[in-house]
Every structure is written in structure tokens, then in C-alpha cells.
């Protein structure tokens, strides 16, 4: 017992030398979807520090932990010098007044031959200035099972009407398959995907000024009704009401669903684990909605870099961003991520073998150029982000699907809730 106690005491004593060693420049990056990419960026940050003669610490933060960590660090007055967040969040931090404008670096990026995907820029603009830098484009295509479509003699759907017809045929031929895996819970995926359906039908959340909420429209009601009809006939499974963000991934990867909407993480999984399923899969644009206002509404987002206003090393922080976005170095990062990040430079989408030579990515350049952002038809805003965080769209869908509220009433309820959130901003 005494020996054990001594051993424990000695072990505890080894803790004493561990005191805080703050780096000259601290960078918090979101996980880049594979270990190799995280290691590469870490190595680049270390190398950057050596070249600049400073100590640089690159910290990989899981996506689900970044917001809490930043909240605590900002509260304590000790945020990292540079940090990464998902696109719409840039508005939030800019509004808090904790970020530095980065227009000069954005200008440098735009000067690269071919420029950048301008569709991502509005997300990082606040009060006329770029408070963040989009570092990739998040494309959210539809995944479609070509083998199941072939079995029922159909092509990949181009319109939402095609998708419903195909779903009905697939369900009839394969009662074990629930054709359209559309998340309808309160997960983030559900908020995003349901916006895509509504926007495809011609609905819009804001007018062009971004000041008036325009959710309650005949087009939005038609989109809600479309979802309700598929849900009622079983072509959208009831279980989607309980899915988390991984629910549709799992459903598609286990072959239980014929269509779903998701970033290319499903593609990455198939390349590593299921080449047969990959061979039977097409990544296609979001189907076009009905009527004159119908369109293929792909909602894009991006991870972004932000610089803390209180950084003691603004020049080093900006130098790191220039280092990161230097095209040759940046291309290496994108190649290592392996498809989950589309490069911010269109020229690289057209030249990199990963995108140029892989048929699955054939539509991505067009989808990135024409992608819509949250808050459409207005610009991205803190109000749009607050509405997203309040999960109003999915709540209204659940009122319709679970409580049996008519589509027009559910839409009207969502409009009122959105106006309430907007007035509190």
C-alpha cells in the first residue's frame, strides 16, 4: 500500500513542471475531415513559424467543439489569434466586434488567375468589409442510386416531379427501400436540406434587401405540400424525423435509401469502403422545382478564416493567411482533403486531377458558381443565422408532418416566428 501511495505521489509530482507555454501565434483550425490533411496544415503552420522566426501553434478543433471553445476563450479575453469557423458564423463574430477586416487578403486572393468563387464572398461580408476569408466551398449535391433507377427504367431525376415518380417506382419494386432519405428532424442537415427544396420551388426567405421576410408564399406552401405528400405515401421514411446529421449518411451507406442530399462525405466514405456502391451512385445537382420560379437551388457554404481583433500579432496573423492561400500550397491541402473541400479558386477545380478527372465532381464547378447562400434572396446576415439556429423551418415542417397542420398554416407559423426572431436582432 505504501509503495503504491509513493508511486502515485511521484506520478502526481511529474505534473508540476507543466506550466503554460503560450505560442507567439495561436491558430485554431476546424478538423479537415481526414487526419492527413490536419497533419499537413499543422506542418505548414510549423514551417511558417520557422520561416518567420516565431513560435506558431496550430490546434485542430473538432467541428462540434469550436463554438464552445471560442465562447469560453472570448469570454476570458484570450481568443486565438486566428481561427476557423463555418461560413455563416462569420457574421455572428463580426457583429460581436471581435474580428479584424481582411479585405487586403481577399483582394490578393481575387487577383489569382481565375479569381475565386464569388458566390461565397457574401457570407463573409459585414458592414461592407470582409471579416473572414472563405477557404473552400461546401457543395451539397444529391446522391442518387443509378442501379435502382435502372431497375425501374428511369434516368437520374432532373426535377422534383421526376424524383417523386422515381421514388414511387423504386418503392413499388423494392418495399424494403425508403426512397428519399431527407432528414426532417431538428438537425442542421434538416434545416439546410429543407431550405433547398423550398428555394427550388421558388420560395425565398428574404427579399433582395435582406430586410423583409418573404417565407410565406405560394411557392413555399407548394414545397411544404410536396414534402407532406411524399411523407404520407412513404417515399420519405417516417424515421427521418429522428435522424441526426449522420442519419442520412448511414441510410445511404447501408443501401436503405435511393436518394439523399449531403456534402461529399458520403462520397469519401464510399471511395474508402464501398466501391460497388460508389459505382452505382451519381452525384447530381439539386432537382429543379415546378413553375416559372422553379430552379435547381443548391445552398452553398464554406469554412472561413477569421482574425481576432485583439491579436497582438496582426501582421503575423495575416502573413499566415497569405501563406495558406498561396495557390501551390493551397492546392496541396485541397488534394489531401480528398474532395470534401472544393477549392476556392475555380482554376484549381478545372485543373486539379481530383476534380477534373473524376466524373462524380463534373457538376461541382457549376454548382459552386451558381450556389445560393442562406438568407436568399437577401445577403447572408446575422438575422438569417439566428433563424437557422432557432430551427424554425424544421419545426414548422414537424408541425405539418407530426401534428397534421395544413401546409399553408405551417408556413404562416414559420413566417411569424422568423419575424419574431428578426425583431429581436
Amino acid at each position: 500500500m505504501k509503495k503504491l501511495a509513493m508511486t502515485l505521489l511521484v506520478s502526481a509530482a511529474t505534473l508540476l513542471p507543466f506550466t503554460a507555454q503560450a505560442a507567439d501565434l495561436t491558430i485554431w483550425g476546424l478538423q479537415a475531415f481526414n487526419q492527413q490533411a490536419d497533419d499537413l496544415i499543422t506542418e505548414m503552420a510549423t514551417q511558417f513559424g520557422k520561416e518567420r522566426g516565431i513560435d506558431v501553434e496550430y490546434v485542430v478543433v473538432p467541428g462540434n467543439a469550436m463554438t464552445e471553445r471560442l465562447a469560453a476563450a472570448l469570454q476570458a479575453g484570450a481568443p486565438p489569434d486566428v481561427f476557423m469557423q463555418v461560413g455563416p458564423q462569420a457574421q455572428y463574430y463580426a457583429k460581436l466586434g471581435v474580428t479584424l477586416p481582411l479585405d487586403d487578403i481577399l483582394a490578393t486572393m481575387r487577383a489569382v488567375p481565375g479569381g475565386i468563387y464569388e458566390s461565397t464572398v457574401s457570407q463573409v461580408m459585414y458592414d461592407g468589409k470582409a471579416h473572414a476569408l472563405p477557404l473552400e466551398v461546401d457543395i451539397v449535391p444529391m446522391f442518387a442510386r443509378t442501379d435502382l433507377l435502372k431497375d425501374v427504367g428511369m434516368e437520374v431525376p432532373k426535377t422534383w416531379a421526376d424524383l417523386r415518380t422515381a421514388s414511387q417506382a423504386i418503392l413499388k419494386a423494392n418495399p424494403g427501400i425508403t426512397p428519399f432519405g431527407m432528414t426532417l428532424s431538428s438537425a442542421n442537415d434538416a434545416e439546410s436540406f429543407s431550405r433547398m427544396v423550398v428555394l427550388s420551388f421558388g420560395g425565398e426567405m428574404f427579399d433582395k434587401t435582406g430586410k423583409t421576410i418573404t417565407w410565406n408564399s405560394p411557392e413555399t406552401v407548394a414545397a411544404y405540400q410536396y414534402i407532406a405528400d411524399m411523407f404520407a405515401e412513404g417515399t420519405i421514411p417516417r424515421s427521418t424525423l429522428t435522424w441526426d446529421d449522420a442519419g442520412n449518411n448511414t441510410a445511404y451507406q447501408t443501401g436503405r435509401t435511393a436518394f439523399t442530399i449531403n456534402p461529399p462525405s458520403i462520397y469519401q466514405w464510399m471511395t474508402q469502403n464501398d466501391p460497388d456502391l460508389l459505382a452505382d451512385t451519381a452525384m447530381i445537382p439539386i432537382p429543379v422545382g415546378p413553375g416559372e420560379k422553379g430552379r435547381s437551388a443548391n445552398l452553398i457554404s464554406s469554412f472561413s478564416w477569421l482574425v481576432s481583433k485583439d491579436t497582438k500579432r496582426p501582421d503575423d496573423a495575416k502573413a499566415w493567411l497569405n501563406h495558406f492561400f498561396e495557390p501551390a500550397r493551397y492546392e496541396e491541402i485541397i488534394a489531401t482533403v480528398g474532395g470534401r473541400w472544393l477549392p476556392i479558386y475555380p482554376a484549381q477545380t478545372q485543373s486539379m486531377p481530383l476534380f477534373k478527372d473524376t466524373p462524380a465532381f463534373a457538376n461541382f464547378d457549376e454548382m459552386a458558381r451558381n450556389g445560393l447562400v442562406d438568407g436568399h434572396a437577401g445577403p447572408p446576415s446575422a438575422t438569417a443565422a439566428a433563424i437557422f439556429n432557432a430551427k424554425i423551418v424544421t419545426q414548422s415542417l414537424q408541425r405539418m408532418l407530426v401534428d397534421g397542420e395544413p401546409a399553408d398554416k405551417a408556413v404562416a407559423w414559420a413566417q411569424a416566428e422568423m419575424e419574431r426572431v428578426a425583431s429581436a436582432q
Partner: protein, 280 residues
């Protein structure tokens, strides 16, 4: 009253069913973790799910042990948990003894305050604690994490030991005092040797608390040199992609130390819980 044979049989059947349900309830998640850790990624997603791996693989363990930072995270967890355990047991013992044995003003308030401190939810404390650690320069250090964990393990250990010390006859203290022992000598030479089972229990609970803690580990430390395994596991959840095989293999590895300690200290735990918690 003597039970009839049919009553005995019914009693045994009910007991057996109860034990089986309890075992299933406790062991099914562990079984699933172990089985999943031995499957390929494709098999993990197979429908219907397989109860046993069709082609068992140790690849997930190999990746966790040799191609990731997980061993470093486990070592960090062990360092922090051991330090927390030792300090909690020592401080808890020194705080519990006077409350259990001595008469002084504020004794009751102190005892209640200790229980209240233990009951404060970590989700309320993490930002104030972050500020404290930040001002002490202890963010992203194991020392800081140890200090944070002590905020809940010390009250817990003290509270448990108060109950345990009360089960030890006061006459032993009085005899030691008559023999000329000081209070500290009485505690160290008389009370603590008798209270070994109680100490074992509080040490084990402190270790388990520190080993399993997640929220503080997620917020207060972030580099690979300081991150504990609970925070490290979140790195295997990449957005909507779960690396299930590695997650489960890493969880199996993390269970092993706790399992060994519980099996080794089983006798003390049973004695300590019976004497301290129930009677206290």
C-alpha cells in the same frame, strides 16, 4: 415462516430473470463496442447488422495504437487522473476528519457547503473556471485540468469520508489521545489504516470521475500534449462522418485501465461502500 418449494422455485426464477436482464442491460453496450471494434467499416454499416464480425480485424486497434495520437491522450488521462486521485484523497481525508470528529463553529455549514459544491453542475462552472485558469496561466496545461477536476472530486471525497469516519468508534481517538498522540498522528496512525476500504472507494471514484470527464477536457485543453482521451475521441467524429471502428477500438482501450483497477480493488470497494455510504 418456511417457504414452500413452489414459492422457492418462483423466487429463483424471478431472481434469475432479474439477473439476466440486469446483465444484458449492463453488458450489451460493452459487447456492441467490442464487436464493432473488430469489424471493417463496411461491415459496421451492413444491414442487417452482424452480431459477430464476419471477418474479424484488428486494424482499428492498430490504427488507434500506432497511427494516431490516442496513446498520448490515454497517458495524459492517466497522469491527470492519478494526480487528481492522490490530491483528492489527501485533501478529502484532512477535511473530513475534523468535520466527522471535532466540534467547532460552522461545522454543519461546512458539511452542507461541501455537498452543495459537489452538486454544482460543470456546465455552469466551465466559463468561470476558464477565467480563473486563464488568469493563472494554466489553460492548456494538465495542471490546470487537475485543478479544475479537484473542484468536484475534493467535495465528493470529503463527503464520502465524513460518512466513513463516523462509522469508526470514537473510543479509538480517545485512547490515542490518552497515549499522547496529536490529532494528526491519530488520523495517520489510527484512523486511516482502519479507513483503508473507504479511502479505496473515494480514490477509485475520484479516478473514475477524472478519467471519464469530458466537458472541462474539451474546453480547457486543446493541444496533443495535454488533451485527454475523452476529448481526443471527438476527433474521430468529423462533421457527419463517424469513424466508428476507431471510435470503438479506442473506447475498448480506454476501458481497460478502469476495468483492471475495479477488479483489483473489488474487495475494498464492497467493504468501503457498505461501511461508508450505507451507514454514514
Amino acid at each position: 415462516m418456511v417457504k414452500s418449494s413452489s414459492e422457492l422455485i418462483v423466487g429463483r426464477v424471478v431472481t434469475t430473470i432479474g439477473v439476466i436482464v440486469a446483465l444484458f442491460w449492463s453488458l450489451a453496450p460493452i459487447y456492441w463496442i467490442v464487436v464493432t471494434s473488430l469489424k471493417t467499416s463496411r461491415e459496421i454499416y451492413a444491414v442487417p447488422p452482424t452480431l459477430l464480425p464476419a471477418r474479424p480485424t484488428l486494424a482499428n486497434f492498430a490504427t488507434a495504437l500506432f497511427n494516431s495520437k490516442f496513446p498520448q491522450f490515454v497517458l495524459n488521462s492517466a497522469t491527470v487522473a492519478i494526480a487528481v486521485t492522490v490530491i483528492s484523497a489527501v485533501v478529502g481525508g484532512l477535511a473530513a476528519y475534523p468535520i466527522a470528529r471535532m466540534q467547532f463553529k460552522g461545522r454543519g455549514v461546512a458539511a452542507r457547503a461541501i455537498v452543495m459544491a459537489y452538486l454544482l453542475p460543470p456546465s455552469l462552472l466551465f466559463i468561470p473556471l476558464f477565467l480563473v485558469l486563464q488568469n493563472l496561466g494554466l489553460i492548456n496545461t494538465k495542471t490546470g485540468l487537475v485543478l479544475a477536476y479537484l473542484t468536484f472530486t475534493v467535495p465528493f471525497c470529503t463527503w464520502m469520508l465524513i460518512g466513513y469516519f463516523r462509522t469508526i468508534p470514537k473510543e479509538l481517538d480517545e485512547a490515542a489521545t490518552v497515549d499522547g498522540a496529536t490529532r494528526l498522528q491519530t488520523l495517520l496512525k489510527v484512523i486511516l489504516p482502519i479507513a483503508k476500504p473507504g479511502l479505496a472507494v473515494v480514490a477509485l471514484f475520484a479516478f473514475t470521475h477524472a478519467w471519464n470527464e469530458f466537458l472541462y477536457a474539451l474546453v480547457f485543453v486543446h493541444s496533443n500534449d495535454t488533451k485527454t482521451f475523452t476529448a481526443g475521441l471527438t476527433g474521430l467524429i468529423m462533421g457527419d462522418t463517424f469513424i466508428w471502428g476507431q471510435l470503438m477500438a479506442s473506447s475498448v482501450i480506454a476501458i481497460v485501465p478502469i476495468l483492471i483497477i475495479y477488479i483489483g480493488a473489488q474487495r475494498y470497494i464492497v467493504e468501503g461502500l457498505a461501511a461508508g455510504s450505507v451507514k454514514g
